[in-house]
Structures are given as structure tokens and as C-alpha cells.
């Protein structure tokens, strides 16, 4: 809660300049409004009590029109400045959070589902916009406008000044009290609201499962019942909020009525003049108006606080260890191998170690295949090698030709092909150039040929310019893997790491992918995890991960594997 509040304060300072402009413009517009009312009161007084014709008032009417135009333009500019402030904050924050998440990496993000994180990045951050664009300027106006009107009324009428000055501050006090209660109710029912609110989506997603259970017909009525529960719970929260507004209006009406009654009596006895009374009556609602506007945007703050809590949770994720070393570094000498010594790793400090004092070597010009049952630690080993996870003990070093540890960073020379490659929408060439923006077509073709991807790419209707993804051609699992391998090869990595490159593939695709990996071996350290025989058959060295240790398998054990 406190970090979220601090985050919100940070937001305000990010948009400082534009918010300042909005508040100044709003203040100027408010001053024009007061002047407008002064002129209007004068016109009405003259028309009603000084026997003026409208013709005599055209001059003042002209002034009024000019003030109107001025206020309209200023108000519009203030709105635009506030909207700009809101959008500046959200776009910058979104880019920052995404950049942070890219440095956190998959291991750090494992706790949060992708869908949830994307929702936080889109709708969550969007929820901050009304807070910046509406709540903050209105909060400022809540101070500026009443003070301006109070000053004005002080110069006009002492009684009214006293009434407004006394009732004004009571309202925010009272609202804060009710607001706390609303927050408490919100917090208490949060989980229930979340579950009920998502219930419909949940049922839509599970529609096929419901049919297979034979419950499709009852499900519709269950949807209705859940919606009804949601309605009741939401209303209990809303009632408190509505009560807040009602209380606000009650106080506002009460003080306006007081002003009017006091004036009425004095007008009757001839102790006050109509123009002043009418002007004060015009001004009094404007005194309370910013409070009303503010209370209407109060939920913007609540939404923003909730969203900020989720954003802060994302920003609090620690960066992966590789983030610092992956930046392009001056080329170090040739790599001859990687040595892991005494490696231990665990997820969390109190969790059981996945690897304990494990050691192994990965030489160059060889295909090293890592096997082991799922959950044994294959993926953990890869994460350690990639620097996505920091070992709790032990070292991983790159070795030069002399077998000495290489000074300086070397992880920027890794080419990494995960089990599900990232293929954002775009053309084949766009996707291949993600890692090498300057690569020409000849380079793309050479890498594609090496990865056995050239034939299928050229068979596509527009070759390398074929769009894939949502609106484009669909690739089979094997084609996607070979495309990802091509992309990694374009950067000519010294180390090539592939995670389960042939899982879920039919035998033919599996063989093609395995052959392509084999071709990439000369001059490289190639590391592959797998549980498939075809891939194991291609291995130069076989490592087995089991019971927290890593050991090489002999030829006879290989045959049995």
C-alpha cells in the first residue's frame, strides 16, 4: 500500500510540467468564470430592478461573450494539457516496465502469468491515466477554486463568507471518513469480487469442458447466478460511495440554503441589495462544484492505487544476473569450452536444491546432449549457463584455447533457441533480422540453408517477405524451430544452446531439425537438452542430470539410454 502511494507520488512528479500548465490554465478559466458571474449578476440586476432595457446592456453582454470565449478556450487547453500529462506518464511508464521485465527474464517472471502481466501492462497502466489526467488537476482545483470564490465572497458579504468558510472544510473531512470505510469494504471483498468478476470469462474459456461434463445446460443458469452474486457484492461497495456523494450534496445544499435564507431575510428588511445576493447565490454552487468533480473522480485514485500495486510488484522483480553481462562487449578471444565447477542452484533460499555440487565440461566442435527425467534439473542447468539464474554456489567460466578462464563477459556470444521460439507478427525477413538488423538477404539465405529452412521459406508465396503470425501464414512446429535456429545462426554465435529442439515433432521433422543442429557444430560449443532418441543419437558427448548431479554417460550407457 505504501509503495503504491509512493509510486503514485512519483507519477505526479513525472508529469509535473504538463500538470502545472493544466492547473494554471484551469485557474485562469476559473477566474474568468467568476468574472462572468459578476457581469451576469449585474445584467440581471439592471434588467430586473433598474428598469434597463436589454439594449442598454449590450456592452456588458459583449463582455460576457468575450469572457465566455476566453473561458471556453482556456478550459479546452487545460483539458488537453491534462490529457497530454496522463498519456506521457502512461506511455513512458509502460516502456520502462517492459524494459525492466526484459532484464528480469523468464525465471524472474515465472511467478506471474503472461496474461496477467500483459493485463497489468495494458489496462493496469491505462488505469493510471484518469488519475493523472483528472484526479490530480481536480485535486488542485479543489484548493484553487474555493479559495478564489471565498475571497470574492469576503469582499461582498460577511455573513455568506462566514457560512461558506465554516461548511467548506467539513466536507473533505467527512468524505475522507466515508472513503476509508469504502476502502475497507473493498479490501475485504476483493478476492470475492475478483473471482465473481472473472467468472464469466472463466466459463467461456471452459465451455468445451462443460459440454464434455454434460453440464452445458445448467451452466447458463450458473452464469446468471454468479452475475447476481457479483451484482450484490458490487452494490454493497457502491452504496457506500453513493452515500459519500449524498452526504456531500447534503452539506452543499445546506450551506447554499443557509446563504439564501440569511439573504432573504436581509433583502426583505432592505439591509442587502439584490445584485450582491444574486451574485453570491450564483457563486455558492461553484464553491462546491470542484468538490463534486473531485469526489466523482475519487474512484480513479482507488483504481490507480490497485493498479500501481501490481505495477510496483512487477518493478520489484530482481533483474536476471545475465542482464549486466549480455550487453555487446568488445570481442574477447576465441572460446574453447565452458567449465562448470561445483554448481549448486535452488529456486528461493529455503527450497530444496535442484543441483548440488555438480560439475561438467562443454567442449568446442562437439554436440553435447543433456538428458534426464523431467524435473531433474536440465532446464535449471541451461538457465545457469544462460545467466538467467544465479548459482547459489560454484562457478561457470568460459575457457580460452590454453584452457585458462576467459576474462570479461562472454554471454553476449550465446545463441539461444528456446522450446517455444518468439515469433512476433511480421515477415520472415523481419523475424530473422530481429537479432541482426543489418543482415542482407544473402546472409539470411546462407543461415537458412544451414538450418534447413531455405526450402520451405522459398516455397511460401512471397518467400522471405511472407508475413507470418495472426494474419499471415501458419508455420508447423518443425518449421518454427528451424526458423528460430536460422535466426540464432545469423549472429554467428560461439555458443549455441537449444532447449528440447525436437519435442512435439513428428519423426520426419525431428530428423531434419537434428541434422540442422549437427551441421552447426563445427567451430561452436553446442549444448542441447532433449528426451528424444533421434537427437541423442547425434550426440558427441552425453551428460545425464539426476539427483542433483551431472555425470557423463559412457558408450554402453548411451546404448541403453
Amino acid at each position: 500500500m505504501r509503495t503504491a502511494d509512493r509510486g503514485l507520488t512519483g507519477l505526479a512528479s513525472r508529469a509535473g510540467l504538463w500538470l502545472g500548465v493544466a492547473v494554471v490554465l484551469n485557474g485562469a478559466a476559473a477566474a474568468m468564470l467568476v468574472l462572468q458571474l459578476v457581469v451576469l449578476a449585474r445584467i440581471v440586476d439592471n434588467l430586473a430592478f433598474h428598469a434597463h432595457t436589454f439594449g442598454q446592456e449590450t456592452g456588458r453582454a459583449g463582455w460576457l461573450a468575450a469572457l465566455l470565449a476566453g473561458r471556453a478556450v482556456l478550459g479546452w487547453l487545460a483539458d488537453m494539457a491534462a490529457a497530454t500529462a496522463g498519456m506521457k506518464v502512461t506511455t513512458a511508464l509502460r516502456a520502462d516496465v517492459l524494459a525492466h521485465l526484459l532484464r528480469v527474464g523468464s525465471v524472474g517472471m515465472a511467478g506471474a502469468g503472461t496474461g496477467e502481466t500483459v493485463t497489468t501492462l495494458t489496462e493496469g497502466i491505462d488505469a493510471l491515466e484518469p488519475y493523472v489526467a483528472h484526479y490530480l488537476p481536480r485535486a488542485a482545483m479543489m484548493v484553487v477554486m474555493p479559495l478564489m470564490i471565498l475571497g470574492c465572497v469576503a469582499g461582498l458579504d460577511g455573513w455568506s463568507f462566514a457560512i461558506l468558510a465554516c461548511t467548506g472544510p467539513l466536507i473533505p473531512l467527512f468524505m475522507a471518513l466515508v472513503g476509508y470505510r469504502a476502502q475497507a469494504i473493498m479490501d475485504r471483498q476483493w478476492t470475492q469480487l475478483l473471482l465473481l468478476g472473472n467468472g464469466f470469462l472463466d466459463f467461456l474459456q471452459g465451455m468445451t469442458t462443460l459440454r464434455l461434463f454434460g453440464h452445458a445446460h445448467h451452466a447458463a443458469s450458473t452464469v446468471g447466478r454468479m452475475a447476481d452474486d457479483y451484482r450484490r457484492t458490487t452494490l454493497s461497495v457502491m452504496r457506500v460511495a453513493f452515500l459519500t456523494s449524498a452526504a456531500l450534496e447534503f452539506f452543499a445544499s445546506l450551506s447554499i440554503a443557509l446563504v439564501a435564507v440569511v439573504f432573504g431575510a436581509r433583502l426583505l428588511s432592505g439591509h442587502a441589495d439584490f445584485r450582491t445576493a444574486f451574485l453570491v447565490l450564483l457563486l455558492a454552487p461553484e464553491y462546491f462544484m470542484p468538490l463534486r468533480a473531485f469526489s466523482a473522480s475519487y474512484h480513479a485514485r482507488q483504481n490507480a492505487t490497485v493498479a500501481m500495486r501490481r505495477i510496483a510488484a512487477l518493478l520489484a522483480l530482481p533483474q536476471a544476473p545475465m542482464a549486466a553481462t549480455i550487453a555487446p562487449a568488445p570481442p574477447s578471444g576465441p572460446l574453447a569450452g565452458i567449465a562448470c565447477t561445483n554448481l549448486s542452484a535452488a529456486y528461493g533460499t529455503d527450497a530444496a536444491p535442484v543441483l548440488a555440487h555438480a560439475s561438467c565440461q562443454f567442449p568446442r566442435d562437439a554436440l553435447t546432449v543433456v538428458v534426464g527425467e523431467s524435473g531433474a534439473g536440465k532446464t535449471t542447468l541451461l538457465r545457469l549457463l544462460l545467466g538467467l539464474l544465479a548459482p547459489s554456489a560454484g562457478t561457470i567460466v568460459a575457457l580460452d584455447e590454453a584452457g585458462q578462464p576467459l576474462a570479461g563477459p562472454w554471454r553476449d556470444r550465446i545463441g539461444w533457441v528456446p522450446q517455444r521460439p518468439c515469433l512476433p507478427s511480421g515477415t520472415i525477413a523481419d523475424i530473422l533480422r530481429l537479432g541482426a538488423p543489418d543482415a542482407d538477404l544473402a546472409q539470411l539465405r546462407a543461415a537458412a540453408a544451414q538450418a534447413d529452412a531455405l526450402a520451405f521459406i522459398e516455397a511460401l508465396p512471397q518467400g522471405f517477405d511472407t508475413p507470418i503470425g495472426e494474419r499471415g501464414a501458419r508455420l508447423s512446429g518443425g518449421q518454427a524451430r528451424r526458423l528460430a535456429l536460422t535466426r540464432a545462426l545469423i549472429r554467428d554465435p560461439a555458443i549455441l544452446i537449444l532447449d528440447e529442439p525436437t519435442s512435439d515433432l513428428d519423426p520426419d521433422s525431428e530428423r531434419r531439425v537434428a541434422d540442422a543442429i549437427r551441421r552447426a557444430v563445427p567451430g561452436r560449443i553446442v549444448i542441447v537438452t532433449t528426451h528424444r532418441r533421434t537427437m541423442i543419437g547425434q550426440a558427441d558427448h552425453l551428460l545425464a542430470v539426476a539427483d542433483g548431479t551431472i555425470r557423463p554417460l559412457s558408450a554402453s550407457e548411451r546404448a541403453a539410454a
Binding site: M109, F213, D228, L267
Partner: protein, 565 residues
């Protein structure tokens, strides 16, 4: 017939609440108008009486109008509170009703439509569309009706005193209440559509980027991704600013028009005053009344936008719900023995697509334990869909329990056949709720026994809340393998005579896989049938017979023997 009733028409009780909400909203707006007008009159009348001297001042009865002011002020507060509670209540009720009805329609469509044409993104949109459509009443209906009623009343009142002033007010209100919303709406529709497209694209990009975060880092493509996001965000910001400019412009114009109209009303009133047709006390009343009348018109440009959003949402929903309901679904029950008999079946998803099955024959007798293998994409998962009528077949015949599959009653079928689909869904809430969804009549002992067979009981037991442990969004996150095992437990709990399991052991390590298969085989009654769709060779030895799909047909193949380890 509930599925014949239109999607959006409210039921009686909700309709009554909606009407009550409208009445309250009008009452609040009228009270507001009356309050301001009467206060203006009260002050001016008191001033007139005060100016006329002591006698007139004593003769002036202030108690009655003052009571009127108090009454209207109280009425405004109460009516507004009531309006908010009742309209929100009605809106939430309406949304719930729209959701129930649209769900009822969707659930009758062949699931092939759902799975093939609707990504998660589109389901998400469907949810927000139902909300938007339901909110049309609150966001557009209430403001327009209130403005119309309050506008008519104020024009009537002002016109009753000075007809020409009524005309001026009517012109001003129509300009701000009809012309301005229409113009603003027309100007902003394109930007609104552009925002929606760009937001969808950004959503897709973010999913790609986050899922590929590590790969992007090792490709050095962070800059490219950031640039991609920036381009999208800039386009959205541009369109949003365009919208804000129009909305702000409409707001500013309404404010200016209100004052100008009040000025016009005053001009007409002053002419009437000089002609002796109006008392001096009424002039301020008319001016204030004109200003008050605009308060109900001010939200209309925004309401027009909401109405458009709601209309688009309703159109999308209608299109989604308009797909023909499932053609199959007879009323016959299969009879024992429950044999599956497929003869010369030909099946493809669309006339222009390749055949998935062609001239395919398959017979599975009740009590057999069969593995269905074949390369990915060969149509293994299609078999269960054919039986349940999720996919239609174009050639040949399918009989189950001696009955044509097309004539089978889906409810009777689902009572006999338990299917664990590859994408079996786990529902939000507790483990107990998921099990109860599968089989509402199961008791706790049955639940534990199903979990035991699925090798999940130990895990559930060590969680503090046991069966009541929440999973998903608000609770514990299950690993892929744990999720599969819970889905398996759900199917087992139904004690089906026929069991179709699609990749039951995906995501499990070898030891757990063996344990699950051993427990599963031990728990099956001897006359229960098992069809295991799989590409894991390790589970084949547990089964009696293997069928491979190749060249769009079924072929019996040998199981590599050697007893299960």
C-alpha cells in the same frame, strides 16, 4: 424457450428497476432545475418586497417558498442517491442477464467454432462487450432520457412565462443536446476505431515480447522491441489526443452555449418585463432556470460515445451468437455393448481444406484398452470430437452402442463417456469446486479417491486448505503437470464407462507417469473402455492395442512389448 428470446431485452423485474431508475433520474434533474429557479425567484421577490417598503415586506410570505426550496433540495439529494443505487443495480442485473443468455447461445454452437475461431483475446473481448452492451442503459439511456424530460419541462416552464424565451432555450438545448453530440460523435468515430485496432496489436506484441523475453535479450533485440512498442503507443496517443480535443471542445462549447442561451432568455424576459407581461421577480428565475437546464445536457456528447461503443459491442455479440446452433444432437441413448464403430469415415474441417480422415475404419469394443498414436496434426484429437458431434463428418457412418452418432443424445453420451481434452479447462476457485463441477453428486471420499488415482492427493494434502485451496487467479498456481492431473481426477470422478484421455501424462516426469498409469489401470472396472491418445511411447505397454493414424486412416500397430517397468 430461453434461447429464442432476444439477447438484450430485459426481463420483467430488471425492466421495472430500469424504469424506476429512469423516473428517479428525471426526478433528480427536475428537482435540481426547480431548486435553482425557485431560489432565484425567492431572492428577487424578497428584494422586490423589501424595496417596496415595510408594509409589503410584512405582507410577503417567505415561509412557503422557503419550504419549497428545502423540499426540492431534499428531494434532489434523495432522488440522486436512489437513482444511483437503482440504475447501477439494474445495469449489473442487465449485464448478468445478457451474459447468461449469450452463454446459453454460445454453448449450443459446435465447439469447433469456439476453439478454431476464437482465441483467448476474443473471449476477453466478448466479456467486455457484454458489459458494454449492458451499460448502454446507464451510460447512454439514462442521460438522454433525463435530458429530454428535463429539457421539455424547462422549456415548458420558461415558455409559459415568456414564449419567445422558451423558444431561445429550446434552440440552445437542441444545439447542445442533439447537434453537438452528433457532430462530436461523427468526428471521433474514426479515431475510436483506430485506437481499438492499435490496442489489439499492442496487446499481441506484448504477449510475444514477454513470452520471448530471454530470446530477445540474447538476440540483442530489446531496442527493436522497444521501438515497436513506441510506434504503437505513439499511434494510440495521437488518436487519443484527437478524441480528447473533441470531447474537451464539446464540453467547452456546452458551457459557453449555456451562458449565451441564458443571456438570450434574459433579453426576451426583459422585453416582456418592459411590456408589463412579466414581474421583476421572475426575470432572475428564468435566467437561473436556463442555466440549470443545461446541466442535464452537458453529459450528452459523452453519452453519444458510450451509445456507439455499446452498439458496436452489441453487433459483435450478435454476430458471435448468430452462428447456427449445433445441427446434431438427437435424443437416442446408446445401448450395451458400448462399441465404437467407424466405417469409411471421411472428415475435413472445411470444404476447401485437406481431408483429416478418409475411408477410415475403426472398431473399439467395450472393455478394450487402446492407444491412438500418430504424428502431431494427424487427427488424433478429432476422434472424440466426432463422437460428441463437435465436428461433423462428410462421409461414412459412426455408431456408438449401436446408435448412429448423429442421433445420440449429448447428455446421455456425456454420462457414459468421460473425455479429458488436450486443453481441458480448470475453473477458478477451489480444487473442490473443480471436482464438483465435473460431478456435482460426488462426496469427499470419492474426490480423494479420484485425486489418489491421479497421483495428486499427496500434494493436495500438504496444502493448508486441502480441497478448499484456491487455484488460479486468486490462489495457488498449479504446474502444468499438476493441472493435467487435476483434470484427470475430474474425469475419473465421473466414473465413465468409456474413457478418452488426450495426452494424459504430458508434462509429467517418467516416474509420475508410470505411477499415474498404474493407478489408472488398477482403478478401471474390467468392462470400462480406455482410449489413450498419446505420443509418449512409455505408456504404450500399459495398453492392449495400439492404433496409428497415417494417410488419413487407422492402422493397427504392434506395441513394443516388455512389461511396463
Amino acid at each position: 424457450m430461453s434461447h429464442l428470446s432476444p439477447l438484450f431485452a430485459p426481463t420483467r423485474p430488471i425492466g421495472r428497476r430500469m424504469a424506476a431508475g429512469l423516473v428517479l433520474a428525471c426526478l433528480a434533474a427536475l428537482a435540481n432545475f426547480g431548486l435553482l429557479a425557485l431560489s432565484g425567484w425567492l431572492l428577487a421577490a424578497a428584494a422586490t418586497a423589501g424595496l417596496a417598503g415595510l408594509v409589503a415586506a410584512h405582507a410577503f410570505n417567505m415561509a412557503l417558498p422557503a419550504a419549497g426550496v428545502r423540499f426540492l433540495a431534499t428531494l434532489r439529494i434523495l432522488a440522486r442517491y436512489g437513482e444511483r443505487v437503482v440504475t447501477h443495480d439494474a445495469t449489473l442485473g442487465l449485464v448478468g442477464q445478457i451474459r447468461a443468455r449469450s452463454f446459453d447461445r454460445l454453448v449450443r454452437q459446435p465447439p469447433a467454432h469456439l476453439s478454431r475461431q476464437r482465441s483467448g483475446e476474443q473471449l476477453f473481448r466478448f466479456v467486455s462487450d457484454t458489459e458494454r452492451a449492458g451499460h448502454a442503459y446507464l451510460d447512454a439511456g439514462v442521460p438522454f432520457v433525463t435530458a429530454a424530460v428535463c429539457g421539455l419541462a424547462s422549456v415548458g416552464l420558461v415558455g409559459a412565462f415568456v414564449p419567445s424565451a422558451g423558444l431561445v432555450l429550446a434552440t440552445g438545448l437542441l444545439t447542445c443536446g442533439v447537434l453537438l453530440p452528433l457532430a462530436a460523435g461523427w468526428l471521433s468515430d474514426r479515431a475510436t476505431a483506430r485506437i481499438a485496432t492499435q490496442q489489439d496489436a499492442m496487446h499481441g506484441d506484448l504477449v510475444d515480447i514477454l513470452q520471448g523475453a530471454d530470446e530477445i535479450a540474447f538476440l540483442g533485440a530489446e531496442g527493436a522491441m522497444r521501438h515497436r512498442l513506441d510506434t504503437r503507443q505513439a499511434a494510440i496517443r495521437h488518436a487519443r489526443l484527437h478524441l480528447a480535443a473533441i470531447e474537451g471542445g464539446a464540453r467547452a462549447l456546452t458551457g459557453a452555449m449555456a451562458m449565451l442561451t441564458a443571456l438570450g432568455v434574459l433579453a426576451c424576459a426583459s422585453t416582456a418585463l418592459h411590456g408589463g407581461l412579466l414581474s421583476a421577480a421572475c426575470l432572475p428565475m428564468l435566467g437561473l432556470g436556463a442555466l440549470a437546464a443545461f446541466e442535464s445536457v452537458a453529459p450528452l456528447p459523452a453519452a453519444r460515445q458510450m451509445a456507439r461503443h455499446a452498439r458496436l459491442a452489441a453487433r459483435r455479440m450478435r454476430a458471435a451468437c448468430a452462428l447456427p446452433p449445433q445441427a446434431t444432437g438427437g435424443s437416442l441413448s446408446p445401448t450395451a455393448p458400448l462399441d465404437l464403430d467407424m466405417r469409411a469415415v471421411g472428415m475435413r474441417y472445411a470444404p476447401d481444406e485437406a481431408w483429416v480422415l478418409r475411408h477410415a475404419d475403426l472398431t473399439i469394443r467395450q472393455g478394450e484398452r487402446v492407444a491412438l498414436v500418430g504424428p502431431s496434426g494427424a487427427g488424433k484429437s478429432t476422434v472424440a470430437g466426432l463422437l460428441f458431434g463437435f465436428h461433423d463428418y462428410q462421409e461414412g457412418t459412426i455408431h456408438f452402442g449401436g446408435t448412429d452418432a448423429r442421433a445420440l443424445d449429448p447428455d446421455a453420451l456425456s454420462g457414459l463417456v468421460g473425455v479429458m481434452a488436450q486443453d481441458a479447462h480448470l475453473f477458478q476457485g477451489s480444487i473442490r469446486r473443480n471436482l464438483a463441477m465435473a460431478c456435482p453428486t460426488a462426496d469427499e471420499a470419492a474426490m480423494w479417491s479420484a485425486l489418489e488415482t491421479a497421483q495428486l492427493a499427496a500434494f493436495v494434502r500438504q496444502t493448508p486448505a486441502g480441497l478448499d485451496t484456491l487455484i488460479g487467479e486468486a490462489g495457488l498456481r498449479l504446474s502444468g503437470g499438476q493441472g493435467r492431473r487435476l483434470a484427470l481426477a475430474c474425469v475419473l470422478l465421473r466414473r465413465p464407462r468409456w474413457l478418452i484421455l488426450d495426452e494424459p501424462t504430458e508434462g509429467l516426469d517418467a516416474a509420475t507417469e508410470r505411477a499415474v498409469m498404474t493407478a489408472l489401470m488398477a482403478s478401471l472396472p474390467h468392462d470400462a473402455t480406455l482410449l489413450c491418445i498419446t505420443h509418449r511411447t512409455a505408456i504404450l505397454p500399459f495398453l492392449e492395442r495400439a492404433v496409428e493414424i497415417a494417410d488419413h486412416r487407422f492402422h493397427d500397430v504392434a506395441i513394443p512389448r516388455g512389461r511396463p517397468r
